[in-house]
Amino acid sequence: MAGPGDYFALLKPRVMSLVIFTALVGMLVAPGKLDFFLGAVSLLAIAVGAGASGALNMWWDADIDAVMSRTIKRPIPAGRVPRAEAAAFGGFLSVLSVALLGLASNYLAAGLLAFTIFFYVVIYSMWLKRATPQNIVIGGAAGALPPVVGWAAATGTAPFEAWLLFTIIFLWTPPHFWALALYKRGDYERAGIPMMPVIKGEASTRRQIFAYALILGAVGVTPYFMGMAGLFYLAISAILGVGFIALSWSVLTAKPDDYGPAKKLFGFSILYLFALFAALLVETIVKMGAGLYV
């Protein structure tokens, strides 16, 4: 019988932590002032909404999860949680999280959260994932929306700056997942998922990773030039952007059976995204501190 830990695992806590972090940055970088308690509740609602979409994804993809080494121990394929319970759990939490966000902040943020859940579950999981090698490119929009939701929660608007944060995560998603797909290709093949290396081959995937890395490296520094970030962010994003491009180059030039660079790039990509948003957060906190004491 499933315990509370199994239901928590359905929420994909690791993905949820990245969503919480990027939404928090969107919320704090935004110029609006949100009460601390209402901000915390909004963040909780965004986190629960992300978790709910994770549970619905596990419900829909239980057949795929059962044949992939990375996901075989998840609560449904492991037989600890029945599929129908995961669906009910995810559906219930989706409604609750959107309602709570609407109550704590505004209807734009709630609508964006509802759209994020819809996009991840219906557009990505149910449709694109099994249909096209562009699955994670288009589906990446769901993972890129949390900072926009956070921004909307704080201000009631979703301006260009919020969509710039969206763009950074959106461009980061393909090289991140394709690096993983390169060395987990067999898993995806067995599960019948048309990931880029399975459909277009590894050489094409490596070229596309490098192309995305070049664009990401350039877009990564633009918050500074848009006046959203300071020199600290510029330095971090420039250094790590060069690192991202260099690692992608080593993926591109690696021998066909050498997956070391792809594994390195996958790990580095997580650090890259975390560091960029952390730099924005640090600068914002410093500004807030200066505002308090000046």
């Binding site: 239901y7 009460d35 909780l44 709570l100 704590a104």
Partner: protein, 57 residues
């Protein structure tokens, strides 16, 4: 066709470990529900604030 003659199955007795898991799950649901109710209450009070009585009856 009638199922009148079919003996109902007695539910399988839960093992002590399963009972423990069920209790933990029930406790988690109760705590989550309580926390949600308290959160909605506090958010409502904060959003409406002192204007809670400023409405036509």
């Amino acid at each position: 066709m009638s199922d009148d003659n079919v003996e109902p199955h007695a539910p399988r007795a839960l093992t002590p470990e399963e009972k423990k898991q069920r209790n933990r799950r029930n406790l988690a649901v109760a705590l989550a529900l309580g926390a949600f109710i308290l959160t909605v209450f506090l958010v409502t009070i904060m959003r409406i604030g002192g204007a809670v009585a400023d409405r036509p009856f």
